[in-house]
Subunit: 202 residues, 2 copies
DNA sequence: CATATCGCACAAAAAAACTGTGATGTAAAT
DNA sequence: ATTTACATCACAGTTTTTTTGTGCGATATG
């Protein structure tokens, strides 16, 4: 893993995506952006590698460039509960890792080879101190996630299998193609068999 | 992951293996051994999960019960160098993790579903303090590894592909069957193609 | 008792990983 | 300058693993 953000064509494209994201929230100069970028590391995770694992001390912020990750925890019965999926242009922040604070700890697991921009909390704090406005960017991202997650949990409780599946189909049509069905099933709180029957019996 | 070492048949067998290992080095009573065992955790890793990863703060000692792990680092060119394989009855200690100290950091990666007994450094220190002789056990293990590793590096430098392969065949005949050839090749400092030709052309 | 869903078992299909081999390149040794 | 001892690239065949569909019985709930 390299420390500095050197410029090959792939990475130039990535930094452009990141800049676009930033600019939705704050206005920054090219020089400032260069500086921000220098705090990021480019990393690649292979399938089933953990971005964040329970009991991990060092937490990073990840900005997903490609691939797909899942955020989940395992309950007392050993069952996996997926909280959300991270796809392109999403931030994975320490919020995910500590959502259930002391009750349950969340793993972030890679679903497919995933490329990310990686920012350590240390660097993030440094950035926030030095470029005051940046803080706003990170906070906004996290709050937005917060609301989305709570909405989802509420809607999971109140609808049946078919409705949940159809809602997901509307929300993330591209993920339905991409995700292994057993993972999608887990996200919807179903078994893969039930999910399979949902769309084949119709 | 459970904290306590409860007794199902599988785990009883494991603790016997561990005891055998201990008894090669030190004489301990059943009561002492029970106590030692209570500091261990039983863990299972799936293929390609990391036992130890670069930048990881918390390091554990692992005693491998089944499966196979590789210890490696990635150089500046992105090339993977395998230092050693861990197989049944081996200890993976923090020595591996810090072999190259500040120059390069070593990952320990699982090759196949691997079962281990896990001992945190914290627990290890506690054990060493409380049961004075245990320290000797751990130190001996680490030193033995140290010598083996240095020997290997020297022999890698001094022999050609065929010799290296034949030496490995003598040392670990069972691993030759078990390991994917590209991993074996990497261990021998060859490409998988060269290795493939080594035994097919003969 | 009907409905909704789970859980197990198994087989087919799809994807990924592994392996062998030819063609071609390269650097050091003779 | 040729040979030796590999590496690198490309590709295809094989093996293994993962994913998926579906029958059948279990379970839980209104």
């Amino acid at each position: 893993m390299r420390k500095s953000f050197t410029k090959n064509p792939r990475e130039i494209k990535m930094s452009e995506i990141l800049k676009e994201q930033f600019e939705k929230v704050i206005k920054i100069s090219d020089v400032d952006f260069e500086y921000i970028l220098s705090h990021f590391t480019f990393k690649k995770f292979r399938k089933h590698q953990f971005l964040i694992q329970e009991n991990q001390d060092v937490i990073y912020d990840y900005f997903i460039l490609s691939g797909c990750v899942k955020s989940y925890f395992i309950d007392q019965n050993g069952k996996t509960h997926i909280l959300l999926f991270g796809v392109k242009d999403w931030w994975i922040t320490d919020y995910e890792a500590y959502y259930y604070q002391k009750k349950a700890i969340v793993n972030i697991d890679c679903l497919e080879d995933t490329e990310v921009l990686c920012l350590s909390n240390e660097n993030r704090e440094k950035l926030c101190r030095e470029l005051h406005q940046i803080e706003h960017f990170f906070r906004k991202k996290t709050n937005r996630r917060n609301v989305a997650l709570q909405n989802r949990i509420l809607s999971l409780l109140s609808s049946n299998a078919k409705e949940r599946y159809e809602q997901f189909l509307r929300e993330y049509p591209e993920l339905v193609q991409k995700l292994p069905k057993h993972i999608l099933a887990s996200y919807l709180g179903l078994t893969r068999e039930t999910l399979s029957r949902l769309y084949s019996s119709k």
